[in-house]
Amino acid sequence: MKGIVFTEFLDLVEDKFGLEMVDKIISQSKLESKGYYTAVGTYSFSEMLQLLQNLSLNTKISIDNLLLVFAEHFFSVLVRDYPSVIASYKDPIEMISSVESHIHVEVKKIYPNAELPTFTVVEKCNDYLSMIYKSGRAMHYFGLGLMKKTFEHFNTTAKIDFQKIKDDGTEVKFIIQKIT
């Protein structure tokens, strides 16, 4: 997993729960990196999983909700670091539906080894989109957070539902209805 996800995650934890929480979850986890994260590095996904689990244990907030909040924060990182990609879209449904065909293509150019989830569009019209998320990491809440922020970014609102196709969350169908 890219280092920026770890550094942004820990920044957010520090911001919301204080430096002690950061220290706590790092020392509670068995980290190969010892928690020495840098945005330009690459680290094992299991480290993120441990950090999330320990944060959940310590704060009594579910991992899903933690992921949701983290994703909302992470969207602002993307806006900050890749404004041109975001600016090339005029409409949230357009942007979300082209995650696979455009955004991930660009990601692969910079990080050829990145392991990305797949988003397959099932149905799409002006104010409706359904797509299937697939990833062994079962981080669909992270996706949900990014989607919510996307609508916010374009000053629109939407009702976003999802149905787990697989119970472990590795395959999830998103149903997005734009509210006009």
Partner: protein, 403 residues
């Protein structure tokens, strides 16, 4: 308080190690980038050299090619042309703009439009021939071979063409056609003329013949033997002249006429001829090998064998005359021969005898046209004729006919 300090110390330690690891990663990356950029520079240099080389080769072809070469955009505007093209069209691109369609001769414009569509669809065009008008208002025939040039996205961008000036060839072709037409016409006239002349010549001849025989009969008791002999000579001469005229007519009509092509059984044809022709009793005609079937004009085959057989009959001086007719299959053609044991022909005359009106013998039956008819017919069937002959021993005519 102490705990807080420890937390901060650990945070500081993480930051420090993170910074060091970031520095290490970045250093490695920049080293990689440096290596890659060095490789790219080398590759670029190599590509540049290759490009220069190819460009100079192309430039050389462009300037040294013997045909006109030009590049046009898809609207027909000429973007580039070599010296030969400039000379051909009479225009200089440095001085004026030029659209290829403006050069085209008015009545060829429609055809050009279609050809341009073909070029766009198929990507190339070969041997497309049109007329153009040069700057000095000269009309020239040109032949174009063209192909499309594509951009990086494989979209047609321009077209290049090699233009050959074929005005001279085209003029010769037209001239040839004209001459051929004239020749046909004059041949036709000649044939008609021969018909008229022979007809016109024959009727006074018949009148003379009639008058002579009346005079002879009316004065049989008054003329002496010498005069009667002279009358006989006059009659013979008239008959020779009549034959002569008939033969000329025959010769003039011995031309190719494709309308009478049938399969002809030559064996049967010769056997029939034997019955029809006057063959003295002391002469035997033998067919050595069965003659084949050939596609052609029956009348002409008849004329061919009739003339050769009569010729042999005419010149047999032996007590027992022999005429041998034979054939050999030579794959693409047949080789025939007609051999006799007659008086023979000296070698110095072997060529001459095929020419019209050439007769070696002042024989009253010989008009000197027969063999020239034979030669004409043989040539008509893409064959050849020659002879082997020894004086006193005999003559063998050999000829070929294409299958």
């Amino acid at each position: 308080m102490r705990e807080e300090i420890e937390v901060l110390q650990r945070a500081l330690e993480r930051e420090r190690f993170a910074r060091k690891s970031a520095e290490k990663i970045l250093e490695e990356k920049s080293r990689n980038l440096f290596t890659i950029s060095r490789e790219l520079k080398l590759t670029n240099l190599h590509l540049q050299q290759l490009l220069d080389e190819k460009s100079s080769v192309l430039e050389g072809i462009f300037e040294n090619i013997n045909d006109a070469y030009l590049v046009i955009d898809l609207q027909g505007n000429i973007l580039k042309m070599n010296d030969i093209a400039e000379n051909l069209f009479g225009y200089n691109l440095n001085e004026e703009q030029l659209n290829f369609t403006d050069l085209i001769y008015e009545s060829d414009k429609e055809y050009t439009k279609n050809s341009f569509i073909t070029l766009k669809e198929k990507g190339s065009l070969s041997n497309y021939t049109i007329r153009i008008v040069t700057k000095s208002n000269k009309i020239k025939w040109i032949q174009i071979n063209a192909s499309l040039l594509f951009d990086r996205n494989k979209k047609p961008k321009e077209a290049q063409g090699i233009v050959r000036d074929i005005t001279a060839i085209k003029e010769l072709e037209l001239q040839k056609e004209k001459i051929l037409h004239q020749l046909e016409k004059s041949n036709e006239e000649l044939k008609e003329y021969a018909h008229i002349v022979s007809h016109d010549l024959k009727s006074p001849l018949r009148s003379i013949n009639a008058l002579i025989s009346w005079i002879k009969h009316d004065n049989l008791d008054k003329f002496d033997e010498n005069s009667l002999k002279n009358f006989e000579l006059i009659e013979d001469t008239l008959s020779t002249m009549d034959n002569l005229i008939s033969d000329i007519l025959e010769y003039s009509s011995a031309d190719a006429d494709s309308s009478n092509q049938t399969k002809v059984d030559l064996n049967h044809l010769v056997l029939e001829l034997k019955k029809v022709l006057y063959i003295p009793n002391h002469i035997a005609i033998n067919i050595k090998n069965k003659l084949p079937n050939l596609v052609g004009d029956k009348i002409k085959f008849q004329q061919l064998f009739q003339n050769l057989i009569s010729n042999s009959v005419k010149f047999i001086d032996k007590e027992k005359g022999i005429i041998d007719i034979d054939v050999q299959d030579k794959n693409t053609y047949y080789q025939f021969s007609v051999a006799d044991n007659g008086i023979g022909i000296e070698e110095k005359y072997h060529k001459k005898i095929f020419k019209i009106f050439q007769t070696l013998n002042k024989n009253k039956e010989s008009t000197g046209i027969g063999l020239s008819i034979v030669k004409k017919i043989v040539n008509l069937y893409q064959g050849d004729i020659w002879l082997e002959s020894y004086p006193q021993k005999g003559t063998k005519f050999i000829f070929t006919l294409k299958k």
